[in-house]
């Protein structure tokens, strides 16, 4: 901070800031990118913030001799330790909603080109919801799936990929890290190096696949840098922030935020339930119990399905629920109590006209860390239970809550499939 008595008559400033900045830079130039203990002034003295401030003050005071201003104070701020750079928690995500079948392969130069088998061609974005994602890869995939950006029956953007049964196309794109703050061309130095990015992208794809089994494809980016750099660069800050806030709002309000794999908390589900109830919609809850034994497990599944047949009209849906329950109960029977009989419980929740939720609960040894949701190879004799449950539901998670091992299932059921 500097002070003075009189403004320069020509420029009506105390001192041209450019001049002052030049002086400061000259002094800092001796310190910048150096090991401070090797700078002559700090060979003996400790280069603490305080001592640095004093050092800079003295130098600057000298430099300001003969200038119309006096130096009052110098502040030195410490940034967080630099350390080795990590990119892990800094994946940026832009969500774009597209309708199936728009665009065609090979028309025009830019666009995204999908390598998956979910159709081909160029995707023309419908509505954009871009936001920066700083919460790590796991959260990343969850957001991608949990974001509510699809119109519901009332036309509100209230539904997520979970609800619509849509597919997810992931495209790796370093240009999302373009920075246009300086110069004419965007800088990509914030983007992770290819080997880091590739591993990260693969991790996101894997997580997405566990969340939306069979509904995820990945693609390659072939855009023109200039255009995309402009979209994601510094340009319109307020618009970017608006989009970001909107995406966050949708995530916290409307969507069931999917949690991947074995990492599960009940909060998300409870919140949703509370919301549904707040809107005055009746959620029915019922508990069914049995002892896990091949015959009894199957009977328990049938019992739940028969109860559901009182509300659900569609035979195919009932059969899917039957398979989900049978797989869940069979898992308990086979693994939970080392083949011995033990307690087995099915907690059912349903909101007529909308969804069914199932919790298959046991008090046995639990799934352990290597729970598999993937479809095993064709020659595998087992390991398809959880895959089937995932495939037939809109959300499937495994968790341990205290003594309870819980397989949670959420299945959306269209209005026409319910009994009126």
């Amino acid at each position: 901070m500097v002070e003075g008595e009189r403004l320069d008559p020509k420029i009506e400033y105390l001192i041209d800031f450019k001049k002052l900045r030049g002086m400061v830079r000259e002094i800092l130039g001796e310190l910048d990118h150096r090991h401070l203990n090797d700078v002559p002034a700090f060979v003996v003295e400790n280069p603490s913030s305080e001592n640095l401030a004093r050092y800079i003050y003295k130098k600057l005071e000298q430099a300001l001799t003969g200038q119309p201003v006096r130096l009052v104070s110098v502040s030195v701020l410490e940034s967080r330790p630099a350390g080795p750079r990590t990119w892990r928690s800094r994946v940026r995500l832009v969500l774009q909603r597209v309708r199936a079948g728009v665009g065609r392969r090979g028309r025009g130069g830019g666009g995204r080109h999908r390598a998956g088998d979910h159709g081909s061609g160029r995707l023309r974005p419908g509505r954009r919801a871009g936001f920066r994602c700083r919460i790590g890869l796991r959260g990343h995939a969850q957001k991608g799936r949990g974001a509510a950006d699809f119109p519901d029956a009332a036309g509100k953007l209230n539904e997520s990929l979970l609800d619509t049964g849509g597919e997810l196309l992931l495209v790796s794109q370093f240009t999302l890290y373009a920075a246009c703050r300086k110069g004419r061309r965007p800088s990509f130095s914030e983007a992770a190096p290819p080997e880091v990015a590739r591993a990260q992208f693969a991790a996101v794809c894997r997580q997405a696949e566990t969340l939306l089994p069979g509904r995820v494809a990945s693609g390659v980016f072939r855009g023109r840098h200039g255009r995309l750099a402009h979209q994601s660069g510094a340009g319109d800050h307020s618009a970017r922030q608006r989009r970001m806030y909107r995406a966050h709002r949708l995530l916290t309000e409307g969507a069931l935020v999917a949690q991947s794999g074995i990492v599960a908390r009940r909060g998300g589900v409870r919140n949703r339930t509370a919301q549904e109830q707040a809107r005055g919609q009746a959620v029915i809850r019922k508990i069914f119990r049995a002892i896990s034994h091949p015959g009894d497990s199957r009977r328990l599944a049938r019992e739940v399905v028969e109860y559901l047949a009182g509300s659900v009209a569609d035979a195919d849906v009932l059969q899917e629920l039957d398979l989900i329950l049978t797989e869940g109960c069979a898992n308990v029977c086979r693994h939970a109590y080392a083949g011995q009989p033990g307690e087995l419980e099915v907690r059912l929740g349903l909101e007529p006209g909308r969804w069914i939720e199932l919790e298959i609960v046991d008090w046995g040894k639990g799934f352990g860390p290597n729970v598999q949701f993937r479809n095993p190879g064709p020659e595998a004799e087992g390991g398809r239970g959880l895959y089937l449950m995932c495939k037939l539901s809109d959300a499937c998670r495994v968790s341990r809550q205290g003594q309870e091992n819980v397989v949670f299932i959420h299945k959306d059921i269209g209005l026409s499939q319910w009994k009126s």
Binding site: L323, G382, L392
Partner: protein, 113 residues
């Protein structure tokens, strides 16, 4: 197990089960089939699934294990007349193209000789 019928022709074993194929029953099915397959003259097994109203992943596991056993010993394994429920379950785990499926009676007759 009256729901299970095993029919032998000269070189083929035709297995038909009516009901639900779940964990409850796969152990016994496997046991019965193993006993039959001890006879080395059985060159092919055909499983008729027309009467199966429901099948879970342990049923899939049963079919896969018999398939592996037959093929590894140079013999044949076929599925025949898939019920809609079975077709759906096998489709979900992408095994419809993995198994050899006999389309109609002609194909069955060709296999049974």
């Amino acid at each position: 197990m009256e729901k299970l019928t095993l029919k032998r022709t000269e070189r083929t074993l035709l297995l038909k089960y009516v009901g639900e194929i779940t964990l409850e029953i796969t152990g016994e099915l496997k046991h019965r089939l193993d006993a039959e397959l001890a006879d080395e003259t059985v060159k092919a097994v055909v499983v008729d699934l027309s009467g199966v109203s429901f099948m879970d992943s342990s049923g899939i596991g049963f079919l896969v294990s018999v398939n592996t056993r037959m093929r590894s010993s140079g013999r044949c394994f076929y599925l025949y007349q898939l019920s809609p429920a079975v077709e759906k379950t096998l489709g979900l785990v992408q095994l419809l193209s993995f198994f050899a499926i006999l389309k109609d009676e002609c194909a069955l007759a060709a296999v049974c000789g």
